[in-house]
Symmetry: C2
Subunit: 567 residues, 2 copies
């Protein structure tokens, strides 16, 4: 700690409170069993220092129309303008930063943060996460009204699941930094002469200021891994949120700054860079010589731009891919249909992990309910989706709102790409009449037609799925390979009862570095990954150059400096 005696949060308090959690997280990333310290159920909050549903909603409401002052140096203006995908303007104002003032201020606390060491940094990060966790209800509303996720999804994915990813990154960062001991005594025998003896010290050192470029759809879930990986390895973090999803990350920055200050560190180790409409500061910041690490989730175009131009930084990107499900055969046709229907519907397909292309042999598939033709599979799936979303209340709870007009435009255009097997329908939202809520469209395409290929080989982000007729399962496997290789994929799903086909699918995924979910028919969906156990992306295909979370995600965020002296 920088100044234990003066700090409100002592090292001892942090250790008592969080060291067991850190140890359990370290165990979880090794065993990859199920674990989370962050309750998933909204009713679990309101006791033991956590904020109840009502108080969380009240806290969110109090933020609306307010100015969120973070006390940052170099604040030269105030900016805002978020409008909820559910309709209301949020009206929150955020500090706008003079970067030439803010960046040097962020560097000022680096030495003390370095000297604190890997364990204290980890424990401070855990305190930040614990305080965010306590306020999960408030964060859930913030995520809901910036991403368009329905409340329960915003609560879980934006709350505990995001916090899990942050904690997972802290655990990896801690483990990586402590692979090398702090000191070593080195004694090399020299035969009859005295041994050569050195005393060595090893210190993990930060790379410099890290930039987190947040996304619109999952501001916390996709942001926390990079934020906490960088902070835990000693780097100050500048958070540049998506202009339409500032609030969840601004609240995160606020909590981080409070905890850092209470623990005796410089709060400027974490800061917000909100921007004016159209300012486009990500490009400017990304090539700034002080920025040494970048975490980014978003479009392939800008991700590729970052990888090409931000040469002074370590760049971790999650971009777009084309996710495929191969449908060869199934022993649980009903389960398959309901599982897929849920996957296509959740958050209106606005997940980087939502399946887009469903590859189905044109001669049909075998199932436990007898053979099904291509047309039957598609119409049965359409019926399953329609059934799942037939009730408006349930549809609203699953779909949320379209995050922006681009998604709506793509959805409308998709209907013109081929025969529509399931038309998208408008769902009325009585609570938020201005929300744009749409069910998914399923379009039939022919895998061997070049015009159709142009459609299914491009990412169509949103509630759009293509039922692609292929000549055989073998063709499906090869199309899967080509899709992953050329376009990338965050997820691959497959249904088959054939051991041979299963092996062929595994082989493609191993060779092309894609994460495969096989025969999911129950309550786990291809588009969901669990921290501590599942990797999100592989980092080995064009969809992303990094995976959440592994050694590679943390190991180059710091370097180890050795000082050696004769003993």
């Amino acid at each position: 700690m920088a100044a234990d005696l003066a700090a409100d949060l002592t090292a001892q308090q942090l250790t008592e409170k969080h060291r067991p959690t850190l140890d359990r997280a370290l165990e979880a990333i090794r065993t990859r069993d199920y674990w989370s310290p962050h309750p998933e159920h909204p009713k679990a909050y309101g006791e033991n220092g956590t904020v109840s549903a009502a108080d969380g909603k009240a806290a969110f409401d109090a933020l609306l129309g307010s100015r969120l002052d973070l006390g940052q140096p170099g604040t030269d203006d105030w900016t805002g303008g978020e409008v909820s995908p559910f309709g209301p303007e949020l009206g929150v104002e955020y500090p706008h930063a003079d970067i030439d003032v803010l960046l040097p201020a962020m560097r000022a606390g680096m030495a003390a943060w370095r000297e604190a060491g890997a364990e204290t940094r980890a424990l401070v990060c855990l305190e930040i996460l614990a305080r965010i966790s306590a306020r999960t209800h408030e964060f859930a509303h913030a995520v809901m009204h910036t991403s368009g996720q329905a409340f329960m999804m915003a609560f879980q994915a934006g709350g505990p699941h995001a916090q899990d990813r942050g904690l997972e990154a802290v655990a990896y960062a801690y483990e990586e930094q402590t692979r090398t001991p702090k000191t070593a005594d080195w004694s090399k025998p020299q035969g009859k002469r005295d041994p050569l003896e050195l005393r060595k010290t090893f210190t993990p050192v930060a790379r410099g200021i890290a930039l987190l470029i947040g996304c619109n759809t999952f501001p916390t879930w996709n942001g926390y891994s990079g934020l906490f990986a960088s902070l835990a390895t000693g780097n100050p973090v500048l958070v540049k949120p998506h202009p339409r999803a500032v609030l969840p990350l601004a609240l995160t920055v606020k909590v981080a700054r409070e905890v850092l200050a209470e623990a005796g560190f410089d709060p400027n180790l974490v800061a917000l860079a909100a921007e004016r409409p159209g300012e486009g500061i990500a490009k400017t910041l990304a090539v700034h010589p002080e920025i040494k690490i970048i975490d980014y989730t978003g479009s392939t175009a800008f991700g590729d731009w970052l990888e090409t131009h931000a040469r002074q930084a370590q760049v971790y990107t999650e971009k777009a891919g084309v996710n495929t499900v191969v449908i060869d055969s199934t022993g649980d046709y009903k389960g398959m249909l309901s599982n897929l229907a849920f996957s296509l519907s959740l958050y209106s397909g606005q997940m980087c992990t939502t399946p887009q292309n469903l590859l189905i042999p044109r001669d049909g598939i075998t199932t436990d309910a007898g053979p099904r033709t291509y047309d039957e599979v598609v119409s049965d799936l359409a019926a399953s989706v329609a059934g799942l979303l037939g009730d408006d209340a349930r549809a609203n709870a699953l779909l949320g709102a379209l995050v922006n007009p681009d998604v709506k435009a793509r959805l409308e255009a998709a209907a013109g790409l081929g025969e529509v097997a399931l038309a998208s329908r408008e769902v009325a939202n009585p609570e938020f009449p201005d929300a744009v809520v749409r069910t998914p469209v399923i379009v039939k395409l022919d895998g061997s037609k070049p015009d159709d290929e142009a459609a299914y080989m491009s990412e169509c982000f949103g509630p759009v799925s293509f039922a692609v007729a292929v000549d055989s399962t073998g063709d499906a496997v090869e199309l899967l390979r080509r899709t992953v290789r050329d376009k990338g994929a965050m997820t691959v799903g497959a249904y088959t009862t054939s051991a041979e086909t299963e092996r062929a699918l595994e082989e493609v995924c191993l060779e092309e570095s894609a994460q495969l979910s096989l025969n999911l028919t129950g309550g786990v969906y291809v588009n969901q990954t669990a921290a501590f156990s599942d990797f999100h992306g592989s980092g080995g295909n064009p969809a992303a150059n990094a995976a959440l979370c592994d050694g590679a995600f943390v190991s180059n965020r710091f370097r180890v400096v050795e000082v050696r002296r004769e003993a």
Copy 2:
């Protein structure tokens, strides 16, 4: 193993022979104490299956004028032309590869190599290293007559120390791949309902073909970390040696191919890409879409080119830096002088770790032998170097030969940059009359003169040191900071008796990510690092983007593919 029953080397044999060594290496990289399984003394060879000095020399002699057939697919010609820096033409011919044939052949064995798993891959790598170790005498002559290192240095640095670096990389690679279990059972409670249960498998998968671009001065020492890190993580490795230092890496490839075949794997997992004079295939290979990893040691210009253009690959570079020694004060003046004299002389300063700039306050320093002026320090150091190299036999044993005419040209030009405190002298080598052997030159420069700054702020690779007069130790520390930040450094040395100065030096090295050796006066030198304990470079300043060896050096050479199924 791919085909245990058919293989000459079974998994059981490999485990019995090498698993204890792997375990000890894993312990060493955690404790960073002194350890090596590779004997440093030439006399230690000749028993227990190792090759004696005489037999090793005979094996080397038998290679001269021969054609080294590796049995590689796509061999379309033969090429060679190495001339020893000590004079003789080697006359060895190597296969020239048709890359369009060789690269696909290298991919053919990848699936079996992946399926073998991390442990078997590690054990096969250890067998390769063990066979190289047994033939250390032969490799020593090969390194000597391609690098110009004197025999003892070629023996130690090119033999056991290089093998140590290879083994260290294997240990890191093994540890990194086994951080994630092969399988996991995941069970998520669902309250009163049945838990969600998944069976998950995790497989480390290669990125693709790795390219090792070898260097002239340390073909094995600088090559083995990358070669073995890539191979142990499942990647085929194409070895592109420096055209003047092919033999040590060609022999390495030959051994690797033999072991792979004996263990039942495809020998084409390791192959050589020797080139015709002036062919420049590194540039072609580096941007080839099949090349996914590049390890490079050499000039900053080409290293920067690789980092900029080889965007399809993970690029690990060791480039050039400007190494500094700050001389503030010492409690062992004699020891300091003799230690520095050795560091400047070893291999005629042709190490990426040799100090170039000696920063000395112009008002002099304090020592245990009383105060010494700047002029006195410089002349005392000159006398120490002259004394160390006064005897021709000893000089030859320390200096070796200049590796190429460029080094000689730089050495000669350096004498015109300032006042010469110690002139370089020609040393006759009775055994190799054509060898170009030169003692180091020490040139006095003024830290505050812009013309001098142009000299000392550029890397002058070879036996050239600048004694730079600075206004104060504080100025030296700031010049050190600027040098590391702008030019990079593989090493920093310093002599001081002041705790405050020591702290300031450490702070600069921590902030600029440089490896610091303090007050070395005995038998350890700033330009030497020991595998398993010392990091070579930091990867955090412009001299190199990677360090030998750490988690970051191995963690992105593979990805983990997860397959999950309902349990």
